[in-house]
Symmetry: C2
């Protein structure tokens, strides 16, 4: 499936990459060391150059305004270094892993799912070529491709549609059964083994305190929950937010900026009362918004067809689980469109059951279509009460909300009571563990225990890591007790929209890239003014001294308005200077020419149409301001101010 | 030396810390894990809460405007993860270490210089108490302090003045001679040993590629030098800049936010032609600026007396080495004053010869005075051509500037020529190393070699890591050769202003902290509007529905102007709501009262004076804008708009 540019051209990644490199949007880190052959592995690490750095800052700035300021979220900046103990609790030490296979001869590691995917895609392509050969297409005759049986073909397609749904055993079984080998060496590979994706280090001089680089910003927000709730005057619901670097030690990064080992994330943790049906007070504002949804059932049926639905309907029909999740999906779409993402290359895909992170109970990804296929750019997960619960259990700190009840309520519940002396005598050091296991059981389990105790005089209890223990009536009583509560205590649930800024930035660049007149040398990045690295290019036609005060005056007036501009007074032709800035995505250009010296008028150029208008400094600067603030479009301006044409066309000057 | 607040009160760190904690400016990371006894070492790690996060963002934003935008610097965002090879070249693997001693019994590590400093300061305090006791001061009688001889006292003071000037051997000798023990245990300590301050990890699944977390952002900027120069159309001088996290594995962090293991840095690398005398084209703009300078000679003479000098004079008199260094010192001072640093608590201290980082040839620190003493907050180092040279040697990549000469020039230089066959025959694998050693020698050395060759027929050469080798006339000729050059090639020098954002933020908070009427419960943070987390607090006097549209109207008008505001419609008294926001540093407050409902007028309150004025919405919002943009002071406003007084004073309501 070829991707197309805004102008309908077939997207040419080589030409696109050349623009990105030439204009220093981003670049491989430590390239001079890699080129000199001094590095073993520096893949998945990229530096942002000046325009990339500025684009990134503008995207983050807009994100802050769109989410944090708009909803008074509590922003935090937590450390990346995180003690091992925290990630043991959160489950990351045990479960935050990918499956990798080892090339049995060369010793290289490859990601198991990527390996399977690559090999099956290759076989499907071979099949296509083989069929073309049979049909007499001469282009396909060179190689000797293999045609697949209809059944096999169908199976491969079904596997690919569910590739994210397999665990290590599934992948291992498929790799063995389908005789998958490392396509680069044609060697056999080992069965998949887990590789933890967190970078490890240690803190302090004694090496006794292991730390990890966080793979997400979320844990810092959870650990501060009690302080945040207090800061928010104990009012629920509320959200915290963080923008910062996270780290994942990818097995074999590929796809440039889309799979990296160090990346900027922007994450929101929205804390809600689970007994509120996860309603959202501003859901009404978005319920009519239409979203392109690809739900779980559609995918499991082997299809990728998107349903366009009002988010209000989607929540009502339980396609999307709850209002808060739905609210954020709509807000995420609004944000992505605001920064310039192509609406036709956006979809929301629900995670498959086995695909979800270990903490999630439902998850939708905002995916953007690029030349690498559909890319997950924003995850919107319902983490339920998982994280707060496990941290509370581990630290005994009360990560809960205490909600005063308008009137006290009478609660009757099964309540276990221990004879601690008898318990201690029998179980010694394990007594506490046993007590905890019983006390944390839910009401249904306690009711069963009570029944068994009454019937058989004892229960059998399984304690993690221990043999089953027998608890008799002499040690444990479970009875219904009634108490009056004036406060309700609960652990909030968490809805987490999580943004990969680098992936969004890369996909956006692909979306806004096109070229003029079928000439790949005349590339344009149609970035919206809100995120463009520079808003206005100022171009003096001549380097004569008389131009200097005019250039300075325009530049200072723009700075005063907080509009970033750049002066290009190099010797290059006007056309060349504009071409350079079309590639940088600069939306507007001001030319100062010989008429400016006499009558003070200047011209304003629109990047996308290359149309120019002419007016006084006041008029043009007013137009710039109004274009950047989104009050007017270029069409409005070109109707208001006289069109300006020069003798020589830009085409003649460009190149 | 006690520090005093803006209001002249003795600074009370306990009260100050309570405000910072209460308002969640920053907080210990992973506190609930430390409290639960689950962590071995989490010192030196802090999270910023909402106001701290916002203050940090505002400081960085102002920094960007003041430095990056003002001088069109090329901003980069490079990765934190850096291959070991890069830091081997830069010298950090070998030299970026502190000296630590081990408690010989308890096994703890302490920083050698901190240990010596603490013990000597304690002895000096004991001496003071002993003298007081002799003089009959009854307060000092409880303990049994020891008086020091005059000579010893002088020596201790001299050691403390130069504490940063000692290397490991010096520290070891002093610790031994002065019988310094670990003051916490009274145990002896081991001789100082180096501890590398970089956090280490490894990249990829094979653990074969070691990486470090960068201890500064600089190396990423140097490695991209060639691309940056190209991006800058090969024009010199220019500067790059980076804002990002850096990491130092401190031995035993103390002093809260002032010595941390993960911190935000903002660094500039200004590249200059070393043959330009490091002149700066905008030096004239700052030459009359007065700076408080504490130079090297003054410190070595055991004094800490600051000289107030015009930076123009300081450069002329060679107190400060060159214009570029001087220009940045003046710009750094302007920045610090702009964000609200107390001018009387700022000085520029020159590094002592042994104190400088391994790469620096001169360095001045901007130091801010706090309750912990003088704190280095900005370093301004001349790194000469060190970094670019070593990376160029290692990678063979040309990290140079090629400057076209206006007219070609004839160069006559000593030029070594080898008989490669003869050389290879004798030295085999080492031939290349020997050739390189000769070729990278400077002209003076080559002239000496030429003389020796002519006189004795051979030279003796020392090659790093090898025995001395003998090179005869048969292998090497050194003769004067003449060539014509049309391009001059040079490695730029680097001036590096480097800002520790966390230290600046902390010192600033101490500088702006004071309390009203000698009541520590009524604390104020007099942050300037430019950096204050929130600019305007909106306080409706009542929660009646009629107030709602008024609150919303003020809030929306401020948002439209890009002025951050917060509504406090809690049930607390007006006085309490203002007190809370005085502690958050909110400079302005708008009250919406019952008169607003009838005539639309609102009041505006000045945080520092608690004075209020009254006017229409237009008038007050105009005043807010003009105060925040710095066009008017509160005095101007209070002359323009009528003063507003209420019956009850704020004091009565506060607490």
């Amino acid at each position: 499936m070829a991707t197309r540019t805004l102008a309908g051209q077939v997207f040419d990644r080589t030409a696109f990459d050349a623009v990105i490199r030439r204009r220093l949007f981003f670049t491989e880190s430590f390239e001079i060391y890699r080129t000199a052959g001094l590095l073993r592995d520096n893949r998945g690490l990229y530096d942002y150059g000046p325009p990339g750095c500025s684009l990134q800052a503008n995207i983050v700035d807009l994100w802050r305004k769109h989410f944090v300021l708009e909803e008074d979220m509590l922003e935090l900046d937590c450390t990346v270094l995180t003690p091992e103990e925290v990630f043991k609790t959160s489950g990351h030490v045990d479960k935050f892993a990918d499956w990798m296979c080892r090339d049995t001869i060369k010793g290289d590691y490859v990601r198991a799912d990527h390996l399977l995917e690559t090999v099956l895609v290759n076989r499907l392509e071979d099949d296509k070529k083989a069929r073309a050969t049979c049909a007499g297409d001469s282009n396909a005759k060179a190689s000797n491709p293999k045609q697949l049986d209809e059944g096999v073909l169908k199976e491969y397609e079904s596997i690919l549609a569910q590739i994210d749904n397999y665990d290590g055993d599934d992948l291992g079984a498929l790799i063995k059964r389908l005789e998958v080998r490392n396509p680069e060496t044609n060697n056999e590979v080992s069965p998949p083994m887990p590789f933890n994706l967190m970078f490890k280090s240690s803190i302090g001089p004694s090496a006794a305190a292991p730390v990890y680089l966080r793979p997400e910003t979320a844990q810092g927000q959870f650990l501060n929950f009690r302080k945040l709730l207090e800061y928010h005057n104990n009012a629920m619901p509320f959200a915290s937010a963080s923008v910062g670097k996270s780290y994942r030690n990818e097995i074999s990064p590929r796809s440039g900026l889309l799979r990296v080992r160090e990346f900027l994330m922007a994450e929101i943790e929205h804390f809600v009362d689970p007994h509120s049906d996860k309603r959202h007070s501003r859901f009404d504002e978005v319920s009519e918004v239409q979203l392109p949804l690809l739900d779980r059932d559609t995918q499991l049926a082997g299809s990728a067809e998107v349903k366009r639905m009002h988010i209000g309907d989607a929540v009502r029909q339980k396609v999307v689980d709850n209002e808060t999740l739905g609210y954020f999906l709509a807000r995420i779409q609004a944000f992505l469109l605001k920064i310039g993402v192509d609406q036709t290359k956006l979809r929301f895909r629900q995670h498959l059951p086995n695909e979800m992170a270990h903490y999630a109970c439902d998850c939708w990804d905002a995916e953007l279509f690029t030349s690498y296929g559909w890319i997950e750019c924003v995850g919107c997960a319902d983490r339920s009460a998982y994280d707060l619960t496990v941290h509370m259990q581990r630290t005994k700190d009360k990560l809960i909300v205490r909600q005063p009840l308008s009137e006290p309520r009478v609660v009757t519940e099964w309540q276990p009571r221990f004879d601690k002396r008898a318990l201690g005598k029998t179980f010694r050091g394990n007594a506490k563990l046993i007590e905890e296991a019983v006390c944390t059981s839910d009401q249904q389990v306690l009711a069963n225990y009570a029944g068994t105790l009454a019937e058989k005089g004892a229960i059998l209890l399984t304690v993690p890591g221990q043999d089953a223990v027998r608890l008799g009536k002499d040690m444990l009583k479970i009875e219904k007790e009634t108490r009056t509560e004036s406060v309700r205590e609960y652990v909030p649930n968490v809805i987490e929209p999580s943004f990969g800024i680098g992936r969004i930035l890369y996909s956006l660049l692909e979306h806004v890239y096109w070229h003029r007149d079928n000439d790949v040398a005349r590339a344009v990045l149609s970035l919206p003014p809100s995120v463009a690295p520079t808003k206005v290019l100022i171009v003096p036609l001549s380097s004569q001294a008389t131009f200097l005060p005019l250039v300075r005056s325009v530049s200072q007036r723009l700075r005063k308005l907080g509009i970033s501009s750049r002066i290009d007074d190099s010797g290059a032709s006007i056309g060349k200077r504009y071409s350079r800035n079309d590639e940088l995505g600069t939306p507007l250009g001001v030319t100062i020419d010989f008429d400016t010296v006499t009558d003070g008028s200047i011209t304003l150029r629109d990047r996308d149409s290359t149309q120019q208008v002419r007016g006084s400094q006041e008029e043009v600067i007013g137009a710039i301001r109004s274009l950047i603030e989104g009050d007017e479009t270029w069409q409005d301006i070109s109707r208001r101010l006289p069109i300006f044409t020069t003798g020589d066309t830009e085409t003649a000057n460009s190149g």
